[in-house]
Amino acid sequence: MTTAHHGTSHTGHGGGHGANRDRIKVALTGQKQPTKTVLSSLLAIQDEFHYIPNEAIEETAQFCNSTANEVWSVASFYTNFRFTPPGEYTLDVCWGPSCHLMGAQKILKAVQDKIGLDKEGETPDKKITLRYNTCLGSCGLAPCIAVNHHVTGRVTAESAAQLASKLLGQ
């Protein structure tokens, strides 16, 4: 996710399929780096939509002179890709070893209790997508969580639950 998306909510999964295809094409052709691949194309599409719409598989295959099979194989491999629209906020809770030692399990439990989930996924009101993250890159401030990729460190079970209820609009 690029900086432009920071602090904004995940929107833009509306519109008909034709409109989707146009946006997909813009995302594909708008890649600025010289090397364009199936992976870079999928990342560009996920930057735009925050998920990989169905039509994007076909469009990417065409754009990269590849096959739908090959594109699916890449998309299903990297764990950051998702195939349904995420909630308004993506809440990543880290469970890497530094965070684990500093209380990640308690934080996960507190967050899940607060938002009513017992696994990764979306809350019924689509406000929050919960993800288990293996490392948010700021282990010196463990334990860490992130909202739409913005990392907060030194969280406690209480502060994480508080943040989650703020995201829920409570």
């Binding site: 890497g96 070893p97 282990c139 010196g140």
Partner: protein
């Protein structure tokens, strides 16, 4: 606009002069991911607002991280020609007050200042010098020399700190062979984990006459507990870019990729901006600094995949495929990215190169130990008083790093260390007198790896931690080799039941058998080293493991309340 190096350096000097000795004070906020995670956004905004409100005309800059994570967010103030004064753990609410007294009143808020860097002989009373702090004075900052001091988005600040003079020196007065020989002479070993001699690796690529050759920089850095690659890129990307250009020159290559995990915006944006500035000033692209050397650089992304950090998997990812390792041979120097000759180095490895070229290989070799020259960039995390990223000379003992730099344990006493990433291993206190260098660490049963040192105190349950590590390896197996894919899954199952208190007699033997199958049946380190966390923990904490290998035990660690929240996943 292309310029000569002298013109660039002159402009850089003038700008630096204006920043440090001009009319306006310079206010810097540590804004790497560690700063951001500690709340630097609020501090930066408060500094801007306070300047506006109080009519302070100041330069307010987001700089990278000093590595002192435990003190973040950090704000520092330099009055013209004055000492640089650092304030730690700054709350946005106190920023206006600090600036009123320090900038408008000319007197630092001594009670809140944790350190200062004097300007020449000028220093404030009652504030310790940064260089005297125990966590600072034992450091030798080579790759990290600019981290936290300069704006990573400003190439002129890098040049003012001596940047790109090594490139200029190489291109104008050295042959590519001479550069290669300096790196060989430095005895620099790869900092990505394998510790292979860098100069030797480069010499595999240098003689090839292929028209297109690649130098790849690996910043995948999926190791939980290590953040020094991203740390260098977000704080001082030009050090890496200059090193990459020198690597390209030394190996007669013409294209470089910096490979980063998508989503880490700070290092990604800093690196992209740095590359763009190099192109603008004629430091990248065609005929660099007016010489015959041409080299293009681009950032390539991976999606979330730990194995993408393995060198051949990395090439697969740049090619846009699933990041699964390739069979070797052929080796990358012969058949690499898109089948062309390639060389791959870690960010830290490349970040040393400008200093090696500037000061000579012998100088670098004089730092550190006989077998491991230079410094180690360690990331201290977990139950330690001063978590952070520190650059230390190789050869300090683990105990010195933990106590003198890290400030000791949070809790009663240190029980264990987890080093070198999840595949690294676990060390007990009896190994704390081991010097930090590649060979001594591996002899002790762990690896230095990428430099992550996670500290666990007496409350840590070893089997619970190992389950966490193996769950990570299970989740991240690329799935290509079934001994790794299924072996890790199987080991998580076994560790799971040991943690739940339903372990079985023979469980340890079972894991040992799985581990040896993974070792011989996997293409890359992910499977080959997959049993490491368990074997190393058995060495130091065998009793704890054995007692779990029987039924009727109490659940432990994060399983106390019967809950267990970790993903398992097998890649399709």
């Amino acid at each position: 606009m292309p310029a000569t190096f002298e013109q660039i350096a002159e402009q850089a000097k003038a700008r630096w002069q204006a920043l440090t000795a001009g009319k306006r004070p310079w206010i810097r906020v540590g804004y790497a991911i560690s700063g951001q995670a500690a709340g630097a956004d609020g501090v930066f905004d408060a500094a801007i607002a306070a300047c506006n409100q109080q009519g302070i005309e100041a330069e307010v800059t987001k700089v990278g991280s000093l590595g002192l994570n435990y003190l973040e967010p950090i704000l520092d103030v330099t009055l013209p020609n004055g000492p640089r004064v650092f304030y730690a753990n700054v709350n946005p609410d106190e920023v206006a007050g600090i600036l009123t007294q320090h900038v408008r009143g000319g007197k630092p808020v001594t009670a809140r200042a944790f350190a200062q860097q004097p300007a020449g002989a000028t220093a404030f009373d009652g504030i310790p010098k940064l260089a005297d702090l125990p966590e600072w004075k034992m450091q030798v900052r080579l790759a990290m020399r600019n981290c936290g001091n300069i704006d990573p988005h400003d190439i002129y600040q890098y040049v003012a700190s001596g940047g790109y003079s090594a490139l200029n020196k190489a291109l104008t007065s050295m042959t590519s062979d001479q550069v290669l020989n300096e790196v060989k002479g430095s005895a620099l070993r790869g900092r990505g984990g394998a510790a292979f001699p860098t100069g030797v690796k480069w010499s595999f690529l240098a003689p090839s006459k292929a028209p297109l050759k690649y130098v790849l920089v690996n910043c995948e850095e999926g190791d939980p507990g290590a953040f020094n690659d991203k740390g260098i890129l977000e704080s001082d990307p030009h050090t890496l870019i200059e090193g990459l250009l020198l690597a390209g020159y030394a190996t007669n290559s013409n294209y470089g990729y910096v490979f980063i995990r998508h989503g880490h915006d700070l290092p990604v944006n800093a690196t992209r901006r740095a590359i763009q500035q190099c192109y603008e000033l004629g430091l990248a692209g065609k005929n660099i600094l007016g010489t015959n050397f041409s080299f293009d650089i681009e950032v390539a992304f991976t999606g979330d995949s730990y194995v993408a950090g393995e060198e051949t998997a990395l090439m697969e990812a740049i090619e846009g495929k699933r990041s699964a390792p390739r069979f070797k041979p052929p080796f990358p120097a012969a058949f690499g990215l898109w089948g062309r000759p390639s060389n791959i180095n870690n960010v830290k490895t490349i970040a040393y190169v400008p200093q090696i070229v500037q000061n000579g290989g012998a100088w670098f070799k004089s730092i550190g130990t006989q077998s491991s020259s230079g410094t180690a960039i360690v990331c201290l995390t977990g139950h330690i008083k001063r978590p952070g990223m520190y650059e230390i000379p190789m050869g300090l003992t683990i105990r010195q790093v933990l106590e003198d730099i890290g400030g000791g344990v949070v809790g009663q006493k240190i029980k264990l260390l987890q080093t070198g990433g999840p595949l690294g291993g676990v060390l007990g206190p009896e190994a704390f007198d081991t010097p930090i260098d590649f060979d001594a660490m591996s002899k002790a049963g762990a690896i230095l790896g990428s430099g992550g040192i996670i500290v666990g105190n007496e409350t840590v349950e070893v089997v619970d931690l190992i389950r966490n590590l193996v769950a990570f390896c299970q989740f991240e197996s690329c799935g290509k080799c079934f001994p790794c894919r299924l072996g890790n899954t199987h080991m998580v199952e076994v560790l799971d039941r040991m943690c739940r208190g339903t372990g079985r007699t023979g469980d340890l033997d079972l894991m040992a058998r799985i581990g040896s199958a993974m070792k011989v049946g996997s293409l890359c380190g992910h499977g080959q080293l997959g049993y490491n966390p368990i074997s190393s923990a058995l060495k130091f904490f065998g009793e704890e493991f054995k007692s779990r290998g029987q039924t009727g035990q109490k659940p432990l660690g994060s399983f106390h309340d019967g809950s267990m929240i970790l993903p398992t996943r097998t890649r399709p």
